[in-house]
Amino acid sequence: MAEAVLFYLFAIGVLVAGAQVIFRRNPIYGALSLVGCFFFLSGIYVLLGAHLIAILQILVYAGAVMVLFVFVIMLLNLKEAELGEKRLTVWKGLGLAAVVLAVGVIAWKALGPAYPQGVLMQGARRVDNAVLIAGFGGAKAVGRTLYLASILPFEVTSLLLLVAVVAAVVVAKGRI
């Protein structure tokens, strides 16, 4: 029960903050509400038992990536005229709400019957898949999976980050 209450709290926070990202005219408000959205999302990750990923979400997304966004927004220093866009009209808002609602209803109706209801039947006994295994989602278990089962993608990711750093410097610097 407590999980359900917390879930709805976090879910409303995620959706409201995510909507702010799109609807705010000034990108700095969008960036700050995106930080809030990531914090609520990490709460949801904790509800899912993914403790390591929740910490990474705050450290990497809210900490590093969003600082980069805010820094670039500050660097561009957009004037009021360059923001340029008209505010969202009532009709646009209504249309968007209708689309989001339709996607939600379709997802609910499509996923509802297709997915087993928390308790699965396996042979003769009922297996409750809502029960967490000890250590699920912790640094040790996820680290074992990362380093044993997917060591090659892990190393390739480090190469990707190196290439991205070099590319970002080359593209943004202009003349080296």
Binding site: I22, V103, A107, Q122, N129
Partner: protein
């Protein structure tokens, strides 16, 4: 009414679908390149949420824990890729802003004939 009370995968999947819809709407509707990049981050997070939901509520419950946690490993890679994507994307926005003094994606049309 069981849907609204029990702690189960559908909640998380529907939330992920809504978040993805928000991000897609942002990419289509907004013209500011930075907000388009932030909407892409929203969509990546929706995908992460789906990975974690399927990892927490697996379809085959009695497999060893490592198979569940491959979802967590996938989320780890997505986070790393998203960080790389943000760095390169923002560098491109900066470079384009330097030549065109604009971040409006509708004005970036030199590839059009």
């Amino acid at each position: 009414m069981d849907f609204f009370h029990a702690h189960q995968a559908q909640h998380y999947l529907v939330l992920a679908a809504l978040l993805f819809a928000l991000g897609a709407a942002g990419v289509v509707l907004r013209r500011n390149a930075i907000i388009v990049l932030m909407s892409i981050e929203l969509m990546l997070n929706a995908v992460n949420l789906t990975f974690l939901a399927f990892s927490r509520f697996p379809l085959v419950p009695n497999s060893p824990m490592g198979t569940f946690l491959s979802g967590h490993a996938a989320v780890f890679f997505v986070i790393a890729t998203a960080a790389a994507e943000a760095a390169v994307g923002l560098a491109i926005v900066l470079a384009v802003f330097r030549t065109r003094i604009s971040v409006n994606v509708d004005e970036f049309d030199t590839l059009k004939l």
